[in-house]
Structures are given as C-alpha cells and as structure tokens.
C-alpha cells in the first residue's frame, strides 16, 4: 500500500526517538569518552588515542579477551549440548499441554533473581557444599568446583539454559512432523532421522540458542565473580576493575566497545551460519 507511507510516522517516531535517545546515544557517548582523558579522577573531554593504545597493547587485556571468548564459547557448547536432549523430549514426546507447562517452568527462572540463584550455587559447589556431600556418599571426595572455570560455567549454564532450551524446543516443535515421518517412511530409523533430518532442520534454532548463550556468558560478570573466583578476569570483570582503577572510564569504554564489536560480528556470523547457507 503506497498511501500508508505517510501514516507511519506517529507510530514509528516514539519508539525510534526513544531508542535513539536512550540507547544509541549512550552507546555513542561511550565511544566518545573512549577518546577522553582522566585528570585528577575526573573525565576531561579530549581527543586522544592513548586509551585505545593502552588497552590494546596490554597483554592482560588480550588474555582476558581470550579467556572470555573461551568461556563464552564453552558456555554456548555446553548449554547447547545439555539442552538438546531435553528440547527433543519436550518437542516430540509430550503433549502440547505438558510442553506448555514445561516451557512455563523454563521461563520462570528467567525472571527469578539470577543473583539469588548464583548465591545459591555457592552452597552447592563449595568444597564442603551439597554436591560434594552427595558425592562423598558414593565415595568420591573433595572435587574442587567453586572458584574455577567450572564454577563460572555452572553460572553461565544457569543463566542461559532456560532460554536455550526454550529456543530449541520451539524450533524443534515447529519442524513439520511429516518430514520426520517421511524420513521413517524412507527407512531412516530414529537415530539416523535425528542426524539426517532433525538436526539440519533444527540448525537455525540450535545456532540461535548457542548465540544467546554466548552473548549472555560473554557479558556476564556475576558468575565469574561469585562462582569463578574472579580470576582470571573476564572482560566484564576487567571493565569493573578498570573503572575502579583511578576512574579510568575511558579505558573501560574501550573494553566495552571491543566487546560490542565482538558480539555484533559473532552474531552476524552465527546468523549467516543459521540461515545463510541455502543454495
């Protein structure tokens, strides 16, 4: 409809202006202050590259970057692998009603204080916490879990698993049942059907789910702080440390911009992987 073009403004402008003013501008401002300097604990407008130069030439920045990447990638992989069987079960073997109920249980933790859940995990993962207590019953003792990358991963999975399972379940549930039956009809048994038909069809939701997990883990500071023992630092830890270090907001801004760029590029790559490869 060509004659609707004029009418869109009253609807388009409010959200557009809002997000421009309160989302894009803050991010741009962050970019701008990455060129400012700090004098006597105060930000002074400036046009200097020294923050960029400083951060990007630090080996500690790059190792934090690598560590964050590795952790986020690990979180994406672990979460995807952990939720896939459950998502398959929910999508294919239960009734619509049960599925909805299960999905609700998945959504609920998403809105339950993440902080409280992480705090709770400490009690499970501590050297003499609940998990080790249970393990000692079966004769395994003293697995170190808290204050390690494992701890961080538990936190990330806690954060991302519900969402990823949700995305995967919805993706799988949308698969045309006829395709699965067609595979059976063409003599593909359950396992081959899984690999030859379900996985390729579920690829977008698998990739998008993994991407969500990656993004959430990449930016989270709670799990590495409270379950990972704060070391080695992730980029989020580094941002917080840097703002603490003599009010170095410009340097923190540099880290933030690098993080945003990384996430945007990763997302683009993932979306391409999920939807792009169709001849």
């Amino acid at each position: 409809m060509s004659n609707t073009s004029r009418r869109r403004w009253p609807l388009l402008l409010p959200p557009l202006l809002w997000q421009l003013t309160f989302f894009l501008l803050p991010l741009l401002f962050l970019f701008v202050i990455s060129f400012w300097s700090v004098v006597n604990f105060r930000l002074e407008p400036d046009m200097t590259l020294k923050n960029w130069d400083f951060m990007l030439s630090r080996s500690s920045f790059w190792s934090a970057y690598g560590h964050t990447w590795a952790l986020a990638l690990g979180a994406a992989a672990v979460t995807t692998a952990c939720s896939f069987p459950a998502a398959c079960s929910l999508a294919f073997t239960v009734s619509e009603r049960t599925r909805k109920l299960a999905l609700m249980f998945l959504v609920v933790p998403f809105f339950t204080s993440y902080l409280v859940r992480v705090y709770s995990w400490q009690a499970f993962l501590a050297d003499n916490g609940i998990v080790n207590a249970l393990l000692s019953v079966v004769g395994i003792d003293g697995l170190p879990m808290l204050n390690s990358d494992f701890g961080s991963l538990v936190g990330y999975v806690t954060l991302a698993l519900p969402l990823v399972t949700l995305v995967q379940t919805m993706g799988l549930a949308q698969i045309d049942r006829n395709l699965i039956e067609a595979a059976h009809n063409l003599r593909a048994g359950p396992v081959r059907t899984l690999f030859e038909v379900i996985m390729p069809l579920a690829k977008p939701s698998l990739v998008v789910g993994a991407l969500f997990a990656f993004i959430l883990a990449f930016g989270d500071f709670v799990a590495p702080t409270y379950l990972g023992g704060g070391a080695p630092p992730t980029l989020s830890n580094l941002i917080i440390d840097t703002t603490k270090s003599g009010q170095q907001w410009p340097r923190a801004a540099v880290v933030a911009i690098v993080m945003i760029l990384t996430l945007v590029l990763t997302s683009l790559a993932a979306v391409r992987l999920a939807y792009g490869r169709r001849k």
Partner: protein, 282 residues
C-alpha cells in the same frame, strides 16, 4: 527401543529441570535455615530472615520503588513495543532492518556496558541517580521483549484482516483501534506482565544508575557484596513467588488460556465429516 529412548529423554529432561530449579529450591530452603550461611547440615527452622527482610526499611522502600518503577516501565515498553512491532509488521521503509536492529539490540549488550554507558550518559543530562534513570534504562532493556512478543502475535494476523477492515470503511486509525489492538490483546497483557518482571529483576544497570534509589535486586546485590545474609534468600524467595505469579498470569494470557479455550470449544465443533453434512442446509 523407542520406548527406552523416550524414557531416557524424560529422565534427562527431569534432570535438566532439577538443574534449573535446584538453586531456587535451595534458596527457599536456606531462607528458613537458622544458620547464617547456607551450608549443610541445616541448623533448624526460623522465619527470622523474613522478619528481618520485611522490617528493614531499606528493603521495604526498595520493594515500593521496584513496584513504582516496574509498572510505568511495563506500560511504556508495551506501548512503545507495540508501535515498533506494528511498524515492522505493516510498513516498508528504507532502513527498516536498521530500525529492527535498533529495537532488538539492547538485550545483546552486556549489562555492565549498558550500565556504564547509561550512567555516563544520564549523568550528563542530570538524570543519573534519579528514579527516572532506572525507569529509562529499564524501558530500553524491556522494550525489545515487548516488541518481540507483540511482533510474534502480529505475524499470526492474516494481512487481509486489516484490509478487510478498510474495505468495511474503517480508516487506518479506526482499524488500529478496532482490529489490530483487539487482535493483539493477549500479547499486550503478556508483554506488560513480562516487561514488569524484567524490570523487577534487573540489577546490573539499575545498580549503576540508581544512586540512592535502590530497587530490590540492587539491594540483593548490595547484600551479596556486603553482608552475605540469608535475607538474600528470603528476598529471593519472595521475588521468585511474585515473578512466578506475574509470569504465570502472563503466560495464561498469551497461550495457555487459548489452548484451554480451544480444548473447551472442540466438542462444540462438529468433527470433520459432520461439518460437510450439517454445515449447510439450504
């Protein structure tokens, strides 16, 4: 063979849910545990922590503030989210994909960065430390959720519905009011409740920009950083209960209710063949 796979799947799903719900359950248990620190064995039952929580003026204030913030946040994000979703659904314009990106990007920005950016920006325009700052940031974060939910609903709308309305002499504004909004009603309510829940649970950005006006999750963060008290568990359990209510109501509006209604209706609907036979008796 298939049966075994099925049972394995269900058992696995059970474990997944155990993993998801364990920390919540533990926090519930520890909120009644007399020991100040969450560890085994349990020390005995107490409701002191709840007492402590609900008499702490800071906590009470934080609760009031959270409510006061989350309601306008939900209202604004739902309205703005609807506008954005409808524009995305209805109009073709240059830069539409950029528009979509701008609307949906915020959740992908790590909270620390959002907090940092918001704080430095809002303090420039004299809003940092004000309740407004929390409200604004939360709308930015929650709007994409509202938009996504409403957009999903709009995608289910037959494009012909609006045209049919125009065809029956309803102007675009009337169509929006009489057709599009009623069609989206459930998703609007769901978006409202879920954005309220998002705002009620957001701590990282709020921690940066709230100044003295702490919300509940910021209070929890402060407790976690400072006092490490079972009050955390008590608050967590309270928040969990209220979130679960909000979300349950929200889900009820968005989908469950529909499923139930459809189930209730189906007997009324003549089964396949019958439609043909008694559908028309001219």
């Amino acid at each position: 063979m298939l049966k075994i796979g099925r049972w394995f799947g269900w058992a696995y799903t059970g474990y997944t849910f155990l993993f998801i719900l364990a920390p919540i359950a533990a926090s519930l248990v520890f909120s009644f545990n007399a020991d100040r620190f969450p560890s085994l064995p349990l020390k005995g039952f107490t409701t002191d922590w709840y007492g402590g929580t609900f008499t702490d003026p800071l906590v009470i204030e934080a609760f009031q503030r959270s409510v006061m913030v989350s309601i306008p946040v939900a209202l604004l994000s739902t309205i703005l989210g609807f506008c954005a979703a409808y524009c995305d659904f209805r109009f073709e314009f240059r830069g539409k994909s950029l528009f979509g990106l701008l609307m949906l990007l915020p959740p992908t920005i790590p909270a620390v960065i959002m907090g940092l950016g918001m704080l430095s920006y809002l303090s420039r325009i004299n809003l940092a430390g004000e309740v407004w700052a929390v409200l604004i940031s939360h709308v930015v974060i929650a709007l994409p959720f509202a938009m996504a939910m409403i957009r999903l609903r709009l995608a289910q709308m037959d494009a012909a519905l609006e045209e049919a309305s125009w065809n029956l002499r309803a102007s675009p504004a009337q169509t929006l009011w009489h057709v599009v909004l009623p069609f989206c009603k459930q998703s609007l309510v769901a978006a409202f409740l879920i954005t309220a829940a998002v705002s009620f649970d957001e701590f990282a950005v709020a921690w940066f920009v709230s100044g003295l006006n702490e919300t509940v999750p910021v209070r929890v963060l402060v407790f976690l950083q400072g006092q490490v008290s079972p009050v955390i568990n008590a608050i967590g359990t309270a928040v969990f209960t209220s979130s679960i209510l909000l979300v349950a109501i929200g889900m009820g509006f968005s989908g469950m209710g529909k499923a139930k209604r459809a189930a209730a209706d189906s007997p009324a609907q003549p089964a396949g063949g019958a439609v043909t036979n008694n559908g028309l008796s001219l």
